[in-house]
Every structure is written in structure tokens, then in C-alpha cells.
């Protein structure tokens, strides 16, 4: 933990120094930023685990139309009650793509990116610093975190919005999704998983901060002993305005065997409500999260994922726009029906 605080102090010092040197010059072509988070979780059932996460990203603007983005995450997790826990740092390339955009009506991304089938924190670009609660909702967890939904893929991803008062948005993608191993996206092998994605939403100009829409995802999974067809449907709505934040998603994922009609249905949803307080408490944002995931236990593709029936309540406190702390109490229902409580604390910086 000492290293974490040294790291956070260095990042904060660099941030203060950078602010002193700001002057009005055109934006640079490149931008390097990141988030550093430390999370302490204490559970009464000897399942405590602590995490330090460094999420770095860089963008480069070749011209007004062409740009590129890369994001990588380094994560270290401790499980104090696990004697076999070995020190290990996980490194993941999260996104790597080139963007072409000449107008707000059309944008194209080519490379590894997020599918958009789960909208959490705006199209599943995760950052613990930017999200209000400490924990992600169960449907937004990535496969390497035992999440169920296919949040990453490699291919073409296009989006756009209409300039009208309804501000109709659309998104579509085609490429390769996760293969028989849900952590891996095979591109140059027989294990290729062709995937398509479509989404549309409205964000009317007369309701600032509101968006509601639907997303569809289809994929062929070359799993053994029998391939599967995946069909996903997500309904989502967000309202973020004047200090109020409401985010809700309902998602259904079905896996169907290709040689017999057996279908496995998995459903999840979350509702997040938070409110920036006023007056002397304006730096505080209390929140409540309801989190639900109901998996078909016979689904052969989701054996590592687990059900979730949880609620969480907490407070986010922003000391500045780049330094925040959060405290959260989470209650989860275990497989045997009993409940366990988790207390979590997070310190995060953006730099």
C-alpha cells in the first residue's frame, strides 16, 4: 500500500506542476492520460481482496479527420486470506484503433474496441475513476473478471448522429468476437468468432442529458463439443443533468446450440441513481446501485461467471476534478441464499 500512496503523490505533484504551466496554445496533436486507483475491500467471510489499477491511454490526431487511440491496463490484486496468492501484475491491451471522422454524422473505428452491447459508463470504456460507484455492475464485467457479456471485439465499428431535434444516434460493427475461450479474441485461426453489432438511441435536444436506446449483438462461437449461436439484446436509458445521474440497463443473452434447439437464457440489469449535493457538500455525490445477474447454470459457455443479486450504497467525494475518494457498502446474496456484506474504499486520480 505504501507504493500506492507514493505513486498517487507523484501523480498529484505532476498534475499541480502541469497546471502552473498552462497557457493558451492550440491543443497538441497527442494526449497521454491515465487513471490510478487503489481499492480496499473488506468482507466478513474471508474473501477480502485489494486492487491497484493503472489505466493509461494515449490519443494522437493525425489530422482533423484521422486519429488513433491506445489504452492499456496494469492491475495487481491481493487476496489476504489466500495463502497461495502469488504476487502478479496483469497487463491488458484494452483498446487500439484508428478513427476516421469528418463530420458528427459519421465516425469509423478500425481495430480492437468495445462492442457497445453493454453501455455502462458510455459504451463500456471502463475507468473506476470516471464511474460513480466502486464496483462495476455484474453485466458490465469483462470476461477476464468472470463477466458474461462480450464487451470487446476486433473489426470495424461505425457510429453517427443526426443533427435534428430528436438527435437520433446509430452504431454498428462487424468483426471478430471472443472465441471458445472467452478471454481471447482469435483473429488468425480456425477459432474465429464472427460477430455483428447494431444499436440505435435517441437523445432529444429538449431533454438535456437524456438518452435511451436498444442494442443487438450476434455471434457464432466455435465452442467444443458443439458450436453456439449467441444473440444479445440490451435496452438502456441514461439521464445525467444538473447533478442528477440515473443509469439503467436490462440485458438478455441467449446461447443456442447449432445442432439441437436447446437454448440457454441469461438476464441481467442494474439501476444506478446518484445526486451531486449542493452548498458546502457540493463535492459529495451519494449513490445507490441495484445489481442483478441471473445466469442459466447449464449454459456451457459461461461456466466461470456467477449469479449476482446485490445492492450497494456509498458516497463519492471529489477533492478536485482529478482526485476523488469513495466509500461503499455492498450486500451480495451468495449461492446458498445467505447474504454477505462488503465494505470498500477507493482512492483515485486522473492525470
Amino acid at each position: 500500500m505504501k507504493r500506492l500512496f507514493v505513486l498517487l503523490f507523484c501523480l498529484a505533484a505532476a498534475r499541480v506542476r502541469a497546471q502552473d504551466e498552462i497557457s493558451l496554445v492550440p491543443p497538441p496533436r497527442w494526449h497521454i492520460g491515465g487513471f490510478a486507483d487503489g481499492v480496499l475491500r473488506s468482507a466478513a467471510t474471508n474473501t477480502s481482496r485489494h486492487v491497484i489499477e493503472l489505466d493509461m491511454y494515449a490519443t494522437y490526431r493525425f489530422s482533423d479527420a484521422w486519429s488513433a487511440l491506445a489504452e492499456g491496463i496494469a492491475e495487481r490484486e491481493w487476496r489476504p486470506a489466500d495463502a497461495d496468492d502469488k504476487p502478479r501484475i496483469d497487463l491488458n491491451l484494452e483498446r487500439l484503433y484508428i478513427t476516421y471522422q469528418r463530420t458528427d454524422a459519421f465516425r469509423l473505428e478500425i481495430g480492437e474496441t468495445h462492442t457497445g452491447i453493454i453501455r455502462w459508463n458510455e459504451r463500456e470504456h471502463r475507468s473506476r475513476f470516471l464511474q460513480t460507484p466502486i464496483e462495476l455492475p455484474a453485466i458490465a464485467r469483462q470476461p477476464q473478471e468472470d463477466g458474461a457479456w462480450p464487451t470487446r471485439f476486433v473489426g470495424l465499428w461505425a457510429s453517427g448522429q443526426s443533427p435534428g431535434p430528436l438527435r437520433l444516434k446509430w452504431e454498428g460493427g462487424a468483426g471478430a468476437g471472443p472465441g471458445s475461450d472467452r478471454d481471447v479474441i482469435p483473429i488468425f485461426s480456425d477459432n474465429l468468432s464472427p460477430a455483428v453489432f447494431l444499436s440505435t438511441s435517441v437523445a432529444p435536444r429538449w431533454i438535456d442529458g437524456f438518452e435511451s436506446g436498444i442494442a443487438l449483438y450476434g455471434q457464432h462461437i466455435p465452442s467444443r463439443p458443439e458450436p453456439l449461436r449467441e444473440r444479445d439484446l440490451t435496452l438502456f436509458t441514461n439521464y445525467v443533468n444538473r447533478g442528477t445521474e440515473i443509469r439503467a440497463e436490462w440485458a438478455r443473452m441467449t446461447h443456442q446450440r447449432t445442432r439441437d434447439p436447446r437454448t440457454f437464457r441469461n438476464t441481467g440489469y442494474y439501476i444506478l441513481v446518484s445526486k451531486r449535493l449542493g452548498g458546502i457538500a457540493a463535492r459529495a455525490r451519494p449513490y445507490v446501485l441495484i445489481d442483478h445477474l441471473d445466469l442459466d447454470p447449464a449454459d456451457p459457455y459461461l461456466q466461470e461467471a456467477t449469479n449476482e443479486k446485490a445492492w450497494a450504497g456509498g458516497v463519492r467525494y471529489d477533492f478536485t476534478d482529478w482526485f476523488s475518494a469513495k466509500g461503499e457498502v455492498r450486500s451480495e446474496r451468495a449461492l446458498d441464499g445467505s447474504r454477505r456484506g462488503i465494505v470498500a474504499l477507493q482512492v483515485g486520480v486522473s492525470f
Binding site: 498552462i22 493558451l24 496554445v25 492550440p26 491543443p27 497538441p28 496533436r29 494526449h31 492520460g33 491511454y57 490519443t59 494522437y60 490526431r61 482533423d64 479527420a65 486519429s67 487511440l69 489504452e71 483498446r95 484503433y97 478513427t99 471522422q101 469528418r102 463530420t103 458528427d104 473505428e109 459508463n121 458510455e122 459504451r123 470504456h125 475507468s127 470516471l130 448522429q161 438527435r167 437523445a203 435536444r205 438535456d208 442529458g209 443533468n241 444538473r242 447533478g243 451531486r276 457540493a282 463535492r283 471529489d318 478536485t320 476534478d321 482529478w322 486522473s350
Partner: protein, 152 residues
């Protein structure tokens, strides 16, 4: 009796600061003389990122901890200072733009930048002296008119 009354009047005046007026500046090369408050919000929350000529818009704001800055954020954008800054961190992180708005230390500095950068749009609190900038009307109301929507 007169002194307490005078003190009360001074205290009431101090509690009600002068009117805040925010002006919108663009370079004279931009073929626009009016902007709707909805379009202005759309630019400053990163939903509109291009001029009709396809060039990237470079938004400029005044320091956000000033009366004009906080009032503009609250009334037009619907966010506080911290939420606005984090919103733009998120836009850059998600790849929707490559940089947050520039922060000008003064209206004169913002006007000088707009005069030499056709892609810029700036919010200022005083009339610019530069020739190459244009003050936009907002929702069809000029800054001198009584119904100008960016005066509070």
C-alpha cells in the same frame, strides 16, 4: 438608525453581485452570426465537434471558478465545475475528442486566440478589441438586447 440601514443596504448589495453577461466569439471567417443556446451547449458538452467546413471546433472557456464561469456551467451546461471537468476527461478517454476546452485567463487572451484561429469559439465577459472576431447573437438576441439569454 441611518448607519444600520446603510450597512444593511451595503450587505444586500454585496449579496447580489453585478449582472453576469457571457459573449460568444468566433473568427470572422466563420459564416455564422447567430447560435442557439442548444447548439452552444452541444459544443461545450462535446456532442458537436465539427464546423460545417469539417474542421475540428476548439472551444475556449473562461476560468470556471469565476462568477461568469460557474453561472454559465450551471445555467447553460447543467453541470458544476467538477462534473464539467470530469465529463471532458471522459470524452477524451472515450476517444470522442482529442482535447478538453482551452481555459483563457482573460477575455482579451481568448479574443486574441480566436482572431488567429478560425476553428476556435470562445466565451468571454467583455467586448473584444480585435478586428478578426465576431460576437454572435444567441437565440436571435444580440448581446445589447434585453432578451439576451446569456445575461443573468
Amino acid at each position: 438608525m441611518t448607519m444600520p440601514l446603510l450597512a444593511l443596504l451595503i450587505w444586500m448589495q454585496a449579496g447580489h453581485p453585478d449582472t453576469v453577461r457571457v459573449l460568444v466569439l468566433v473568427n470572422v471567417s466563420q459564416p455564422v452570426t447567430n447560435i442557439s443556446s442548444a447548439d452552444l451547449r452541444s459544443i461545450y458538452v462535446g456532442q458537436t465537434t465539427r464546423w460545417p467546413s469539417h474542421r475540428l471546433i476548439v472551444p475556449i472557456v473562461m476560468p470556471l471558478d469565476t462568477a461568469a464561469g460557474t453561472t454559465f456551467l450551471r445555467r447553460v451546461i447543467g453541470m458544476g465545475e467538477v462534473d464539467f471537468a470530469q465529463h471532458w476527461i471522459g470524452l477524451v478517454f472515450r476517444g470522442q475528442t482529442t482535447s478538453p476546452p482551452l481555459v483563457a485567463r482573460s477575455s482579451a487572451e481568448a479574443a486574441r486566440f480566436v482572431a488567429t484561429h478560425p476553428e476556435a469559439i470562445a466565451l468571454v465577459t467583455s467586448m473584444p478589441a480585435e478586428r478578426n472576431v465576431r460576437v454572435l447573437s444567441v437565440d436571435g438576441q444580440s448581446p445589447q438586447s434585453a432578451g439576451y439569454p446569456l445575461r443573468w
